[in-house]
C-alpha cells in the first residue's frame, strides 16, 4: 500500500475517498443498516479503486511529474453517479463513479453470450428485461484539465455554484468551468516580474462554502487574502487581508517558516475559517482581519526543537486541518501518529494516537500526553521519543456525524464516537 496523500468525505458522508502517492484513488462506502449485523453500520468497505494519474515526463524541462494525488474534492451529487476531482502536481481530472447492478436480458437478435440467434428459430418477439447482476462500480475520467499550471498544484476547490472550481499552484490560481477543459481563467497571479524578487508563495486556496464569488488563499508568510471575484477579473488585490501581528518576544530565524500556512478551511457555516501553521491552528472570524479569534497550540513542545526540525526538514511538513459538521470541534495531525482535537466551546483538547497497537477494533482510544519537561509520568511520552517519521498530515471529518478518517502514512484509520 502506498503513502496516503489525501483523504476526503463526500457531501453525504457515505463515501470516503483517499488518494495515494502512486496516483491511485480508493473509495470506501459506508455499510448500510443491516439487521443481521447491527454493528456493521458505520463500517466503510472498499467501493472502487482506480488509477487516477500516471507518472509523466515533461520533455521540455526534463523533469518527471509525480503521479501523487495532492487533493481530491467531491462534487455535490446531482444524479445517481458520483463525481470527484483529483489532482496531481500538474493535471486535474474529473472522474465519474457509477454503479451498474442490472443487466438487460432477453434480446431478440442475440443470445446472452452475444451470438446471433438463428432467425428461423425466433418464433416470437420478447421485450428485454432488466435482471440484477453483481454490483459493478465503474470509474471513468470525464474531463482532463491539463497544461494550466507551471508550478505545483496545491489546492482545488469546488465552487458552491457547482459549475466552476479553482485550482491553485505556488504562484497562481485558475478558475475553471467543469465542462470546459481547454480554457481556464487566471484569477490570482503573484509571480513577480523578476523571479529573484520572489519571497512569498501561495500555499492553499478555497472557495467560500456559500458565497460563490468569494475565495481565500493563504501564503508562506502566514497571511490569508480573501478575494471577491466581482470586484475585478484579476483578483490580485484582496478584499480582506488577514494577518496576526508577530509576537516580538518569540521571534527567531524560524519565525517565518513556522508561520507559513499549510492549510486553510472555511467552517461549514461560512462565518469562520481555520488556518494551520507549523505549531498551531487558528480560527479567524471573517469579519476580523487583524487577529484570529482562537488559537490552539498543537505541539508547542516542538518550539524549542525548531533547529533540529529544520535540519531534518520536518519543519516543512504540511499538516491539514478540518472542522466537524457543527463547527464545534477542529482536528489536526501531529507526529508520532498523534492527532489532536480541540473543542471550541469547552476549550478542551485531546490527543489520540492512530496506531495498530493502540487501536483494536471497537476499542476506545486512550488519550495520549506528551511530557514536556521534568518527570515523565507513566503513559506519557517524552518529546525526544517522538517518532517524526510517523506524521499525520491528512485527516477528515464526516460532514454530519462523529466519524473521522485519519491517514497515518500508508494506513487509513477510521474512528467513531463511542456507541453505547
Amino acid at each position: 500500500a502506498d503513502i496516503i496523500s489525501t483523504v476526503e468525505f463526500n457531501y453525504s458522508g457515505d463515501l470516503l475517498a483517499t488518494g495515494d502517492k502512486g496516483g491511485r484513488v480508493v473509495i470506501f462506502q459506508r455499510e448500510q443498516e443491516n439487521k443481521s449485523r447491527p454493528l456493521s453500520r458505520g463500517e466503510y468497505n472498499v467501493y472502487s479503486t482506480f488509477q487516477s494519474h500516471e507518472p509523466e515526463f515533461d520533455y521540455l524541462k526534463s523533469l518527471e511529474i509525480e503521479e501523487k494525488i495532492n487533493k481530491i474534492r467531491w462534487l455535490p451529487q446531482q444524479n445517481a453517479a458520483h463525481f470527484l476531482l483529483s489532482t496531481n502536481d500538474k493535471t486535474i481530472k474529473l472522474w465519474k463513479i457509477s454503479e451498474r447492478d442490472k443487466r438487460a436480458e432477453g434480446y431478440n437478435l442475440k443470445d446472452e453470450d452475444g451470438r446471433l440467434r438463428d432467425p428461423v428459430r425466433i418464433k416470437e418477439l420478447r421485450v428485454p428485461t432488466l435482471k440484477p447482476m453483481d454490483l459493478m462500480v465503474e470509474a471513468s475520467p470525464r474531463r482532463i484539465f491539463a497544461n494550466a499550471h507551471t508550478y505545483h498544484i496545491n489546492s482545488i476547490s469546488v465552487n458552491s455554484d457547482c459549475a466552476t472550481y479553482l485550482s491553485a499552484d505556488d504562484l497562481r490560481i485558475n478558475l475553471w468551468h467543469l465542462e470546459i477543459t481547454n480554457r481556464s481563467f487566471n484569477i490570482v497571479d503573484i509571480k513577480p516580474a523578476n523571479m529573484e524578487e520572489l519571497t512569498e508563495v501561495i500555499t492553499a486556496a478555497e472557495f467560500h462554502p456559500q458565497q460563490c464569488n468569494v475565495f481565500v488563499y493563504s501564503s508562506s508568510k502566514g497571511t490569508i487574502r480573501l478575494c471577491d471575484m466581482r470586484s475585478a477579473a484579476l483578483c490580485d488585490r484582496h478584499s480582506k487581508f488577514f494577518e496576526e501581528p508577530e509576537d516580538p518576544s518569540s521571534r527567531s530565524f524560524f519565525s517565518e517558516i513556522i508561520s507559513s500556512i499549510s492549510d486553510v478551511k472555511f467552517s461549514h457555516n461560512g462565518r469562520y475559517m481555520m488556518t494551520r501553521d507549523y505549531l498551531s491552528v487558528k480560527v479567524w472570524d471573517l469579519n476580523m482581519e487583524n487577529r484570529p479569534v482562537e488559537t490552539y497550540q498543537v505541539h508547542e513542545y516542538l518550539r524549542s526543537k525548531l533547529c533540529s526540525l529544520y535540519e531534518n526538514d520536518c519543519i516543512f511538513d504540511k499538516f491539514e486541518c478540518c472542522w466537524n459538521g457543527l463547527d464545534s470541534t477542529i482536528m489536526t495531525g501531529s507526529y508520532n501518529n498523534f492527532f489532536r482535537m480541540f473543542d471550541r466551546n469547552t476549550r478542551r483538547d485531546t490527543t489520540l494516537e492512530a496506531s495498530r497497537e493502540s487501536s483494536k477494533a471497537r476499542a476506545i482510544l486512550k488519550p495520549r500526553k506528551v511530557c514536556t519537561g521534568g518527570k515523565r509520568k507513566k503513559d506519557e511520552i517524552s518529546v525526544d521519543s517522538l517518532d517524526f517519521n510517523k506524521k499525520i498530515l491528512h485527516t477528515a471529518w464526516h460532514p454530519t456525524e462523529n466519524f473521522i478518517a485519519v491517514a497515518a502514512t500508508n494506513n487509513l484509520y477510521l474512528f467513531q464516537d463511542k456507541v453505547n
Partner: protein, 249 residues
C-alpha cells in the same frame, strides 16, 4: 552590543543570553551557530537546486531565512567584530566555517572594506602562500554546494559581496524557474566537475542529522578533492557524463 534583548529560540539547549556579561562568552557560540544555520540553509538550497523539480515553497522559505541571517549579520557588524577580535581557536573555527561564503569574494576584497562577507577574507590577504592553499582546499571541498556562487565566473566579474549573495539567490531562483530554453544547459554548467564532491561531502554532513544535534555543521571536514579553481570550467567529457546520468535517472 550583542542583542537587542531578543530571546533566542533558535538553538536547542542554548544557554540563556540574558546578561551581556554572560553574553560575551556566548557571542562566539551564537555567531557560530548562526553561521552553521546559514551553511545548513545554503546546502539545503543547493540540494533543491540539484533535485529534479524543487519544491518552490520550501526553497522560498529557506532563501528567506538565509536573507534574514545575512541581514542580521550585516546589521550586527559581525564581520567587523571578527576582524578586530582575532584570538585563538574560536576565531579559527569561525573562519573555517564561514569560509565557504567568502571564497569567491577573496579576490575582490583586496583592500576594499566590503560589508558582510568581504571584510572576512581580508584576513587571508596577508598570507598568500600556505594559508591560501589550505583554505583553498577547504573551500574547494565545499565548492560543490556553492557552485552557484563560487565558480570562476564570479572571480572574473568582481562584484559587491552583497551583490554576490543576491546573485546566488537569483541564480537559484532562475534555475528553479527553469525559464530559459537553455535552462538545462545552465543547470549543467553550474554542476561542474565538483558535482561528485557534493555526495561525499553531504554523506559526511547529513549523518549528523539527528534530533538535538544542531551543531554539526561547524566542521566542513572534507573530502580530499583537490579540484582547484582552474578546473571550475566544466570539462566537456564530464558534462556529457553528467548529462547521461541525469537523463537516465
Amino acid at each position: 552590543m550583542f542583542v537587542r534583548g531578543l530571546k533566542r529560540k533558535c538553538f536547542d539547549g542554548e544557554e540563556d543570553i540574558e546578561g551581556t556579561l554572560a553574553g560575551i562568552k556566548a557571542i562566539p557560540s551564537y555567531n557560530l551557530q548562526r553561521q552553521s544555520l546559514l551553511d545548513m540553509s545554503l546546502v539545503k538550497l543547493q540540494l533543491c537546486h540539484m533535485l529534479v523539480e524543487p519544491n518552490l515553497c520550501r526553497s522560498v522559505l529557506i532563501a528567506n531565512t538565509v536573507r534574514q541571517i545575512q541581514e542580521e549579520m550585516t546589521q550586527d557588524g559581525t564581520w567587523q567584530m571578527i576582524n578586530t577580535q582575532s584570538t585563538g581557536q574560536a576565531s579559527l573555527d569561525r573562519l573555517v566555517s564561514t569560509d565557504i561564503l567568502c571564497r569567491s569574494s577573496r579576490e575582490q576584497a583586496e583592500g576594499k572594506h566590503v560589508p558582510s562577507y568581504g571584510t572576512f577574507s581580508k584576513d587571508f590577504e596577508g598570507d598568500q602562500g600556505q594559508d591560501n592553499s589550505e583554505t583553498m582546499s577547504t573551500a574547494s571541498s565545499v565548492q560543490a554546494p556553492r557552485t552557484l556562487q563560487s565558480n570562476v565566473w564570479e572571480m572574473e566579474n568582481p562584484q559587491e559581496n552583497k551583490g554576490n549573495f543576491q546573485k546566488s539567490l537569483d541564480q537559484i531562483f532562475e534555475t528553479l524557474e527553469n525559464k530559459s530554453p537553455n535552462s538545462v544547459e545552465d543547470l549543467f554548467s553550474e554542476v561542474d566537475n565538483s558535482y561528485y564532491d557534493l555526495d561525499t561531502m553531504l554523506t559526511g554532513m547529513m549523518s549528523n542529522t539527528k534530533m538535538g544535534h544542531c551543531d554539526g555543521l561547524e566542521t566542513f571536514s572534507s573530502p580530499t578533492n583537490t579540484a582547484s579553481n582552474s578546473n571550475c570550467k566544466s570539462d566537456l567529457n564530464e558534462l556529457d557524463h553528467i548529462v547521461e546520468i541525469l537523463v537516465e535517472s
